[in-house]
Symmetry: C2
Subunit: 385 residues, 2 copies
């Protein structure tokens, strides 16, 4: 049976593929976007699991929007006003997919930061969007380029990750946030603000959500995968009521509703008095791991590579001088260290392929040291064969 | 923001809508396809929940195909051969949606039994399929009509529910199964065999899966919602490896993977020594409820309605003489009894609207009695105003 025209054009996820080969125990992985297993709040999870006993109503069919106590908590916690509502999804990835399916007709124009989150590229490719890339640096998207893009294309959605961008780790400045909100308003572009890493700020000051500056033009995608645990597959979409109603209609056909016991578990964890401690702990652990990796990169890699310091998230974007990082990724895997080369984060033209994305949350401190040693050896070998 | 052309044409689920209004405690619902809350295997569920404690690996990102122990169990239990593989989904509804997204280009032809499962209509509508309806009676689809349809259209998929069809409860005869398999082979049509009710046979003999008679042309959709509990949202798709690979590619973008703790829980329940007892019990309970409802319908409703006895599943298809069942459904809800009129199960032309679907699993025995009393009163009122 022939697959659809749209699917034939979609690349399988490089990262999902590499993760399956990088599963060998001897491989140290900086490739995935995996949170640290040891940081999962198992005490809170155990307590919440115990509360699911003898609760048959949590195992029945439920409404598409989500488990009401969890939805109500989220509406209050994220201060949604009367014009807005929320929907619980199977991870924020499903939220993204529902949005594309509800609003993107083939050839509709979607603007993305370049480099981009791979999962977003997959979703918009499958929706057959016309994708326009906006170059992004440490402050966020190039604003002149963004305005030019909005002015010359009928952009329907601008998909953005303003907090600790995947893959670059960049966090948009306040100036950029204000200007992007203004441009979205001016050109009637919907801002799709994806903030899976927002709760992972370990230094610096919180900045407002871009969507808070243009709420009537925005949809927000939140994830509980990084701040709690990804295996429960729970995320939240919020935005104007009429738009959310369209997402609910797609979700009815997509899977009726999200699994209820895990929603009840999430509600229990989010409202637990110890949850704030868990969050503090998690950020401290990630800050320490980041510093450890950053220190090694700053010292041992100084002659071959550099990176911009980050204030949160899970990734360092390491720019390596005179290096074909596609070749580097292949060679590194042979030496049992997994990384993702920059090329996979670009759609169409690749400005250069000299960077790599390094995840610092999954590996242990000892693995970070050993993995970076292996990586440096491979870089040296490639540069001085 | 404008919704897509495809979504604009999709009807929201009548049943999901009615379920949300039928939630008032005073309403007795024969409308939904809800299993009986009291029949959920809570002892097995409790035991399985306890095993999730202190298992952080079950809360990490996982592979798209599913939790390996569960997948391996399913491969063995359903006797998949080397040419076949399986994928765990968020309920079989997601499997259906993934199949449509992977294989149905706009205007591709899909044949469905009429009346049809609403969730399938929604999915194929959203995929912009050209839908052809095949009239169905108690033996299954009209075979002459099916062959005529296969011969004169380029049908890509024939979606069918051979065991205790939703909404009619009909179970295909062996002759029909053989003939449909032969026709699918002859005309190279993929049989999409949806068997959510197959484990709910409470009388008569099991018949072979239609797909077992044409495995290289078939995809099977299984659900754990009816045999265990729907809130966990778990289903299974199985079929030829190349086709399943396409589904995995779509699922990567759709939600990365299915939640893992519920997969581990399901694995634990399916492999528990007491699971067979639960299944026997469940079928006994449903048989008793069915008989209770059927007895009342045969006696009290004899002058106004009739139905074909069923051997399993969750629904009775009650044909009411001289009755506009759309009006009946509205009037009945005013009298606090919820039913689904036949019209909602048809796409396009509605041959007649004189039947209703009655679910007998959700309501208690006492509620069945009271609900049917209310319903009969409304029918009488409508027929003799």
């Amino acid at each position: 049976m022939k697959i659809t025209t749209a699917l034939a054009k979609v690349q399988p996820s490089y990262i999902r593929e590499i993760l399956s080969t990088a599963n060998r125990p001897e491989v140290i992985s900086f490739a995935g976007g995996l949170p640290e297993l040891q940081s999962f709040p198992m005490t809170l999870i155990n307590e919440a699991l115990a509360k699911l006993h003898n609760q048959p109503a949590l195992f029945q069919y439920a409404n598409t929007e989500g488990y009401p106590p969890l939805l109500n908590f989220c509406r209050a916690h994220y201060a949604l006003d009367d014009t807005q509502t929320a929907l619980i999804c199977n991870g924020s990835q499903q939220g993204l997919d529902l949005i594309a399916r509800a609003f993107i007709d083939p050839q509709d124009c979607v603007a993305l930061q370049a480099p981009s989150y791979l999962g977003a590229l997959q979703v918009f490719d499958l929706a057959q969007a016309q994708i326009v890339s906006i170059n992004t640096d440490n402050q966020g998207p190039n604003l002149a380029e963004l305005e030019q893009c909005f002015a010359s294309n009928k952009v329907k959605i601008f998909y953005a990750v303003p907090d600790f961008h995947n893959p670059t780790g960049a966090c948009w400045s306040l100036h950029t946030r204000k200007r992007v909100a203004q441009l979205c308003r001016q050109y009637q572009v919907t801002l799709l603000e994806d903030v899976p890493y927002r709760e992972l700020r370990f230094s610096g000051e919180n900045l407002p959500l871009v969507s808070s500056l243009c709420p009537e033009n925005s949809i927000v995608l939140r994830s509980f995968s990084k701040s709690i645990a990804p295996g429960i597959r729970l995320g939240l979409v919020s935005g104007p009521k009429a738009w959310l109603a369209a997402l609910v209609k797609v979700k009815q056909g997509a899977d009726l509703h999200t699994n209820v016991p895990m929603q009840a578990l999430l509600f229990d964890i989010l409202t637990h008095t110890d949850f704030a401690n868990h969050s503090q702990n998690l950020k401290r652990r990630y800050r320490d791991k980041y510093r450890h990796m950053a220190n090694i990169l700053s010292s041992d890699f100084a002659s071959v590579a550099d990176f911009t310091p980050i204030e949160g998230g899970m990734f360092i974007w390491l720019k390596i001088r005179h290096c074909d990082t596609d070749a580097l990724a292949r060679e590194a895997l042979l030496e049992n260290v997994a990384i993702v080369p920059s090329s996979v984060f670009f759609k169409g033209k690749i400005p250069n392929n000299s960077a790599i994305r390094l995840n610092f949350t999954q590996a242990s401190t000892a693995q970070i040291e050993l993995g970076l040693k292996r990586l440096l050896k491979v870089i040296m070998k490639l540069q001085h064969p």
